[in-house]
Structures are given as structure tokens and as C-alpha cells.
Symmetry: D2
Subunit: 142 residues, 4 copies
């Protein structure tokens, strides 16, 4: 991924330089998690026991949409809004956790669920780390 390279060419670089690595890692994790969740939803749909996997498919679809949107928000560095980023990152972390918990139930039987659970756990962790890196004072209050 050229994510980090692109961030470094932006005319308005992230204020805090120590936020930089977390940002690139979080975007990459979101993009990858979205891709894996789309793939897992489709693999579940192709399984013989699809009826046992409807909850997994549903959470995969949600998680793919949320991760893509979160990646886009994080990527945009012009006029960033920490308060909005924080709440979207919260939504993404929760979505990843729920999707991982469901996938882990099928990890023994379906390898795509095992890989997807790993991608979701990694993305959840990156989002939690990213929330901590956001400028202070951008609380949930509104």
C-alpha cells in the first residue's frame, strides 16, 4: 500500500508527527479488513451450511461498509475533525469486535472465518490505538 507515501505528500500534513505512523497503520488495517470482510461474506454465502452463517454474513457486510467509510475519513487530511474521527473509529472498533467474535465461532470449520477474525481483531486494535493518538479535547460531547 502507498498510504504512507501519499500522506507524506499532502500539503497539510497531520499536526502531530507522532500521530503519523498510527494513522498510516490504521488506514491500511481498515482497507484490508474491508476487503477481507467482503470476501468472508461471499465465502460464507457459498458454503453448504449457509443457513448457519447468516449472522456472520450480516456482520461481515456491515463491517466492510464501516471499515471503508472509516478508511476514507482517516485518509482525508484537509480540515480534519477529531470529534468525528473519534466516534467513527469507535463505531469501527465495535463493528470489528462483533464481527471477530462471530467469525471466531466458525474458525475451526471455515478457514475464511479464521483469517477474517484475525483481520478484524487487528483492525479493532489499530482503531483503539488511533483514538488514543487523536488530539485531546475532541471528546464525544456534543
Amino acid at each position: 500500500m502507498r498510504t504512507q507515501e501519499m500522506l507524506q505528500t499532502h500539503p497539510r500534513k497531520p499536526v502531530a508527527q507522532d500521530m503519523f505512523n498510527d494513522l498510516a497503520a490504521c488506514i491500511t488495517a481498515c482497507v484490508e479488513c474491508a476487503d477481507v470482510c467482503t470476501s468472508c461474506a461471499d465465502a460464507c454465502l457459498g458454503e453448504q451450511n449457509v443457513q448457519m452463517l447468516t449472522r456472520c454474513i450480516r456482520l461481515n457486510l456491515d463491517c466492510a461498509d464501516i471499515c471503508q467509510t472509516t478508511a476514507r475519513l482517516l485518509t482525508r487530511q484537509t480540515e480534519p475533525e477529531p470529534q468525528l474521527l473519534r466516534i467513527q473509529l469507535e463505531a469501527c472498533a465495535i463493528s470489528c469486535r462483533m464481527c471477530a467474535e462471530e467469525c471466531e465461532k466458525h474458525a475451526e470449520m471455515h478457514k475464511h472465518c479464521r483469517i477474517c477474525a484475525t483481520a478484524c481483531r487487528s483492525c479493532e486494535q489499530m482503531c483503539r490505538q488511533m483514538i488514543k493518538s487523536l488530539p485531546a479535547g475532541a471528546g464525544l460531547s456534543h
Copy 2:
């Protein structure tokens, strides 16, 4: 929009019937707000004074992505997760509020910003209403 008609044909209808009207109204508001924000971002981009509108464009783009994702989550009625819906609705309400506040600054000069502010305020209100309609016990705690 056939949103309500579709919800009524779903094999697993929303548990609480009184949640039904709020749900259809909220989905419609999100879908419409996404459409209007995409249009406002592009109209701002075509204005002579685009340099004064960069913050507006950025918030429009975020809001379009968030509203589309929120609409998709709300539309899905198989195995819904109130906790995830709640936090995504929070993100959507905040995004709509920020976008509306920015568009209102240009409402005198640009009619597309005036219409967009109205759509965002309406969507924000529908999301807030929807949060109240969600089943209790689905708090933000995690």
C-alpha cells in the same frame, strides 16, 4: 422510495412495531442526505470561489460516505445489533451537524449549501429520533 414497502416484506420484521416508522424515515433521510451531500461537494467544486469552500467539500464527502453506510446498516434487519446501530447513528448525527453548520455559513451565497444544510439538519434529527427508538440496554459500553 420503496423503503417502507421493502421493510414490510422482510421475513424478520423489526421487533417493536412502533420502531417501524422511525426506521423507514431514518433510512430515507440518510439516503437523501448522502445524495445531497455528494451533489453539494460537486457544486462547491464547480464554484469560482472553491478555495473558500474546501472545508465544506471535505465535510460533504465525509457526510455522504457516513450516511450511505448508516443507511445500509439500518436497512439490514437480519440479526440486527442495536449497540452497533447506536454508535453508527451517533457518528451520522455528528457528521450531519458539522456539515450543516458549515453549509449554513454559505447558505446566503450558494443555494446548494442552503438545501444541503436543510437535508443534514433533517437527517441529524431522524438519527437522534432513531437512537431513542432502539431497544434499551444497547448502550455504548463495551
Copy 3:
């Protein structure tokens, strides 16, 4: 939908005025079809006989993604590219036709498939009409 109202406020209005009504109708059809396809995929997923509906779900998911992207391209009036619009509209029309054909097979049994087939046929027709409205000379040649 405020689609038409927004288009009229755009600083760079569509060149050909007779293209205007087709444009607003086509955007609305795409946005509605995306919403209905997302709903139909989820309703199918919640059915007892989900295993018989996997092809329907897959085509619904594709069609929702394609319709959303096509709506966004059509909505943008700054520096439009007729050649790109034409090919994306072709993709959208084909996706809608395939999704409609599949949904029609289940229209007797599942009302959501019946409504979805109607939305897809309508969107297919609007896309075909829109292609005819595009400025000449924007062929598929490349």
C-alpha cells in the same frame, strides 16, 4: 428526493437542457435501486430457504454497489466525462437486468424479490434512456 433541485443550483449546469429531466430521473432510479437491492439481499438472507437464494443475494450486492457508484458519477456535474458515464451506465443497466431476471424467478414466493425486480427493471430502463441522452461522440472506443 431533492436531486433535481440540487442539479438546478449547480454553477455548471448540464449543457443540454433536454438532458436534464433524464438525468434527475436516472439518479433517483439508481439511488432507489441501490436501497431496494440492499434490502432484498438482507431479506433473502433472513429467509428459511436462503440456500436457494445465494445467486439472488450475490447479484443484489453487486447491483447495490454498482447503482450507488453510478448515482455518484451522474450526480457530479463538474467536468463530466460522457465516455466514462456511458460505460458505467452500461454496467449498471446490465447489472440491473441480471438482478431483475434472478429476482423474477422468486417473485411468486418472496414479495421483496417482486419489488426488487420492479426497481431493477425501472433503473435498467432509465440507464438505457440516459445513455441515449448523452452527448454524441462519446463512444466506447478507447
Copy 4:
């Protein structure tokens, strides 16, 4: 990216094994191009001379949407439709070519446009290669 790993765990693997590597490479190229285009649109928006970059921003936004949708279609291996894939890949290749041509005009001045042009050219090539790998008989006829 875990794209290839996920494809290998799918219950319904791609018919032709020689299509497999092209598929993984094309999905990865689309996902990366979408990410880079979102980043380039935002970097252009933050530039002092944004008014000179409106066409670039518009094509970036289109290309990001199209690449994401194309990646999702390609990722889904349950009940694939070569005819639909072919036309969507055509749209993606054209979008990438147009975006690359525009970005190349600003490549000297803006490094983000230089990187974006490279990502778009790479994605265009992968889409063209992928079209050749699709099963025969899936023509554009409809």
C-alpha cells in the same frame, strides 16, 4: 493484503486456475488505486491552487468509487457473472486511464498526483489483463 489467501479458502474456487493470480493482483490493484485516489482528491483540495485542480479532484472521486465497486465484484466468487465483470472492468480501466492522464499533467508540481498516476496506470493494466483472463463467450452483447 490477504486477498489471495482468502480466495484460496473460498468453497467455490475460480474455475480456471490460471485466472487465479490475475484475479488477486487485480483486486489488490483496485483496492490500492481507490485508496490513492481518495488521498489525491483530498491532497488536491488542500493545495493553494485548488482551482486548477478541480478536474483532477472530480476524476479522483469517480475513480475511487469505481475501483471500490470493481474490487467488490471481483472479490465475490459465489455465482460470478463474467459478462458483468467484463463491463465493470472496462469502466474501471477507462476511469483509471482518464484519472492517470489528468494526474500526469500535475505530476511535476504535485508529488501526490505523480504517485496517483502510477497507481492508476497499474490498475488500468491489471483490469485489461483481467478482461483477457475472463472465460470466453462472456461478450458485451446483451
